[in-house]
Amino acid sequence: MAESASVPAIAPLRRGEDRPLPSIRRRQLREAAIRGVITLIALTGIAAVVLIFVFVAREALPLLTDPEVRGEASFGKMFLPQVLRPNRPPGFMWQPVSGVPKYSMIPLFVGTLKVTAVSMLVSVPVGIAAALYASEFAPRRLREVLKPVIELLAGIPSVVLGFFALMVMATWLQSAFGFTFRLNAVVAGLGLALTVIPVIFTVSEDALQAVPRAYREASLALGATRWETAFRVVLPAAAPGVLAGVVLGFGRSIGETMIVLMASGNAAITSWSLGDSVRTLPATIAAEMGEVVFGGAHYSVLFFIGVELFLFTFVLNALAAGFVKRLVRRMSGGKA
């Protein structure tokens, strides 16, 4: 479109030239080349993701193919309760370095879900509320300070936030709530929320800013207050963008390693209490990858955890993309 519009203006026919329009052809060639390069880069990105997945999955494959590895870590042992000690009820346990190695995924799932739930419970309302305030209510000057400051929070290395959670937040929270465990799902989840809030804030704020002025003006003209306009008109109109921010934040939260490793206590306890220590999937990979001998059952199980994390993010992104699509369609005229 832009091409055809600009061609006549840039390349007028010059007198005394035999060959027609060399500059047009050169321009077209150049654009084709650029298009090719961009396509190539995009394809490289896709190929890289596919290759990483193939690599991770291949290292986990012995769980299906190698009888020796399967004997030590079958899927039944990973997902069903096992008898751990004689005369005790069966349970779930993550004890890879043991006379009889135990690789139950359940405590790791529970731990990951607890930490992620805490971090999302805090960061979604805070992130969206902050974005709504910055975009709809804050004076312009304040907004110009607020946005870069919150975005700066995203730039703090997670190890620093983890250290803060470990040394400071854990002590505060324990004296405030009387947790038995100083390091627990709440401490780790709040630490994580510090990294997730800026993600949700930034994306949501951009989405809210992109809502046409006409919506706000129409709403105000109909007699709605600023609050009603913000909550019932602007926020729903920006919902797809806000949701994208939440999904991005969720991905960050489920995969974050450093903060969780430092602040969660890393005990593989299967319980619903948020005051217990937890061990999460990514932190387990980080803590144990260094010590395993290549090709053993423990090694394969760690890669299998990688596959699970990959699948989680894939499924979640696909669900969110589908949901956003439906939302957009409904909002642009109600034709399903």
Binding site: L84, V97, K102, R182, L261, M262, T270, R279, E288, E291
Partner: protein, 272 residues
Amino acid sequence: MKRMLLALAAVVAVVPALASAAVTVKGSDTMVILAQRWAEDYMNKNPGKKVQVTGGGSGTGIAALINGTTDIANASRSMKSDEKGKVRERYSVLPTEIPVAQDGVALYVNEANPVSQLTIDQLHQIYVGDVTNWKQVGGPDQRIVLYSRENSSGTYVFFKEHVLKGDDYAPAAQTLPGTAAVVNAVAKEKGGIGYGGAAYAKGVKEVKVVGADGQAYAPSAENVKSGKYPLARPLFMYTRAKPAGEVKAFIDYCLSPEGQQLVTKVGYFPIK
């Protein structure tokens, strides 16, 4: 421009030369401070020689030895027979074990905790999760919060073998990276208990452990050396084959009187 290229070429040429001359030491976090001191002192005394030290845990060091990515593996436990077998499988030679220092695994509790001595049996029950309150072992009515090391740690394995007698740690045991983190956690948690090298105890109380003769011993130099302290252990260096060349020179230094003096300075106990 040309000069820059020349400089770049020089760097490119020198870097691998330096790297190949360095002796790499990897493994036990318990030994990492000691190994670093040794390396510094050794390099000061022998200019031009290089020793690179990294921690990561005994398991990490031994895995690196098996995978061929380190010259020396530090370990605060002896190598398991299947690990030795893997070395033989790949390099057709058994690894060499060199005891270089001694350590007592100390048990830390919070300074406010009145419990001053425990038996190995009590420790066993505490760490497998059968005993969950301090009042069951003569302390105040307070829940016991267990701290452990992550399973790449040699101390973890040593403790599992000598205290847990091979049983698994209770799922509620929190694993922390490094003894310093365990000490810090116990210092801040009233009901906490943790274990680690005797060189680390700052801001926590070391509990006496009842030995074979029925008396309680603190992890002091003489008790560890005499073997009266029940959780004394040797610290090892492992090499793939018999040490030779640069590697041998460094290990000989560690075992020399100067090297052993540093052991005492760091807070462990000399082997000789």
